[in-house]
């Protein structure tokens, strides 16, 4: 299948140094934070690709680079064959830009409180001089609100309804790709179900492609066709949901899945994971997970593992086979 988005060797480094004078006086070097490091993946048309990871894993930074809110330090993002950060043909850039939209986490912060809902939703089209007559009303009905709501202000809506307005706005310019950054994290469970169902329906109806960014493994398992697990800015495992949740191959994925609370885990005694995510300014040498990994060998401290095919998944681990075998033993025991 044709891929709509292809991300190659994407890297983003932020300069988090103190001001020049402080560095001179305190004799400190520049501090560089690598938020995303050498990440590559493809999103086929009409599929849902999910990025999961804990805070600081770089998932939102990747999302921002894909929509063009941030420029990559290295590597490239191609959408429909166009690299937005290098393309010079203004018409091509324009055409691709209107194919991408974004939905943010906080529906209270992402809607202008002084604008009427009608203007908010029509803005992506109005900004390009398109025809907006009746557009907002039509979209509001498509996301399960009523046409009369177009004359109201954002404060008149609940969190779930606001997220529907954000979705309507994202649909206005008839995009191909929607980047959803934690779209339901601020919502209650029952409202979350409504919004996720709506997103699935719209995907089928308009043939959308989603990049779905979330820290909630259960939501990702439900929505995604393919999942990429990030750790400290690196893609450590990529697999379809069934493979990932049944036999996670990377020790970090295994740790993450074991730690996630389960609805049927009554009185389950979780062996809590050791340690925390290391400092991204001075990441550990070799594999970033080696200080917390139960299977680490000297090689893991020396050489950063590349993504390779292991049993139906792509895994960046020197010891993926051992990790899988250990997983199987534990399930049998």
């Amino acid at each position: 299948m044709k891929s709509l988005v292809s991300v190659r060797n994407l890297t983003r480094v932020f300069d988090v140094s103190k001001p020049w004078l402080n560095r001179v006086i305190e004799r400190r070097p520049k501090a560089m934070l690598t938020a995303v490091s050498d990440v590559s993946f493809e999103i086929p048309e009409r599929e849902v690709y999910a990025l999961v990871g804990e805070s600081g894993s770089g998932k939102s930074t990747i999302g921002k680079m894909i929509v063009g809110l941030l420029n990559p330090s290295e590597g490239s993002v191609e959408i429909d064959g166009v690299d937005l950060s290098r393309e010079t043909d203004a018409d091509k850039i324009d055409a691709v830009r209107s194919d991408i939209q974004m939905i943010f986490q906080d529906p209270f912060a992402s809607l202008n409180p002084r604008w009427k809902v009608r203007d908010i939703i029509a803005e992506p089209v109005a900004a390009r001089g398109g025809d907006t007559a009746g557009l907002s009303e039509k979209l509001l009905e498509q996301v399960g609100l009523s046409a009369e709501d177009a004359g109201k202000f954002p404060h008149e809506f609940s969190g779930g309804q606001r997220q529907r307005i954000c979705i309507a706005r994202a649909l206005a310019s008839e995009p191909k790709l929607i980047v959803c950054d934690e779209p339901t994290s601020a919502l209650d469970v029952s409202v979350q179900a409504q919004v996720l169902n709506l997103m699935s329906d719209l995907k089928d109806e308009f043939g959308l492609t989603y990049l779905f960014i979330s820290h909630d493994l259960t939501v990702v398992q439900h929505m995604a066709d393919k999942i990429g697990v990030l750790y400290l800015g690196r893609l450590v495992e990529e697999a379809d949901p069934d493979t990932l949740f049944e036999r996670p191959a990377h020790p970090y994925s295994q740790m993450l899945l074991a730690a996630a609370p389960r609805m049927d885990g009554f009185g389950r005694e979780v062996v809590p994971p050791k340690g925390e995510i290391p400092d991204p300014i001075n990441p550990p040498p070799g594999c970033a997970f080696n200080p917390r990994c139960p299977l680490a060998i000297p090689l893991c401290l020396q050489e950063r593992p590349e993504l390779r095919d292991v049993d139906g998944a792509r895994v960046a681990c020197h010891r993926a086979e051992e990790a899988l075998a250990r997983m199987r033993d534990r399930i049998e025991a």
Binding site: S55, N197, L256, A259
Partner: protein, 327 residues
Amino acid sequence: MSEPVLSVRNLVVEIPTRTGVLKPVDRVSYDIAPGEILGVVGESGAGKSMTGNAVIGLLDRPARITGGEILLHGRRIDDLGRDDMRRIRGKEIGMVFQDPLTSLNPLLRIGDQLTETMVEHLDLTADEARDRAIAALDEVGIPAAASRIDSYPHEFSGGMRQRVVIALALCAEPALVIADEPTTALDVSVQAQIIALLKRLCRERGTAVMLVTHDMGVIAEAVDRVAVMYAGRLAELGAVREVLQRPRHPYTEGLMGSTPLASRGQRRLRQIPGSMPRLGNLPDGCAFYPRCPKAQEACRVEPGPTLAADQGRAACWFPVEQPEAAE
């Protein structure tokens, strides 16, 4: 069952407003036994945090308790004055809030914050308190506690800060800890660490814990009994396994069904139509009836039966019939 640490009886909290009196907590009753973790779940605005705040006497005005009683070890605490309540808060009831950064003073070293609490409530000198503070930090799993006791809160990560807050809540050895969304701001792996810590401390010391959360997974793994709240009222109360696997209240059933885990393998998630009514706009009768698939005429007129702390499971006229457990 042993004497409960906390008994809440028919608690009513009211907020007078220009347009009428709101009842964010309406006739809520429950008990917590020593060593027991009671989970309180519900959606935002259901009154979970308000119930907790009423127990520790931290209701923001104009909200106030207008009915019912709160008993700690059989002694009424809801009618105490400010100074008496101060003596209980921190000593007999500990608190853990959602955001560890706002519950620690950024200008004080964490050691000073711990010793302040202990000197205030326990009969200790500053040196003794410092030793106990180090022991307390050690117990919640902060590495090199003796050297980190003089650090400021900003020098800790989110998970470590929440451990400090837990140490702070437990340092005067309270009989009851109220944990209000203690892991909501944390990552999954850190959340697992904090929940394991709370469970261990609760088991070892026999502390009663009221765990307020909206995460069903956390509820399933951590608590013994669960109270489900809807629009200020108790919808269902019972042993966690019973409530989660065989919910009797249609709201609990809908809530469980709408989690992605419960709909595993299905294309669509089950959803409850509509949303929770605003407090100023509650329907007569049962607050859930406009969204309820089983609503009948009686539900429109009469609110569901009020749950007593020790009997009844669901505040519903037509509870869901669940097949008896075949275990």
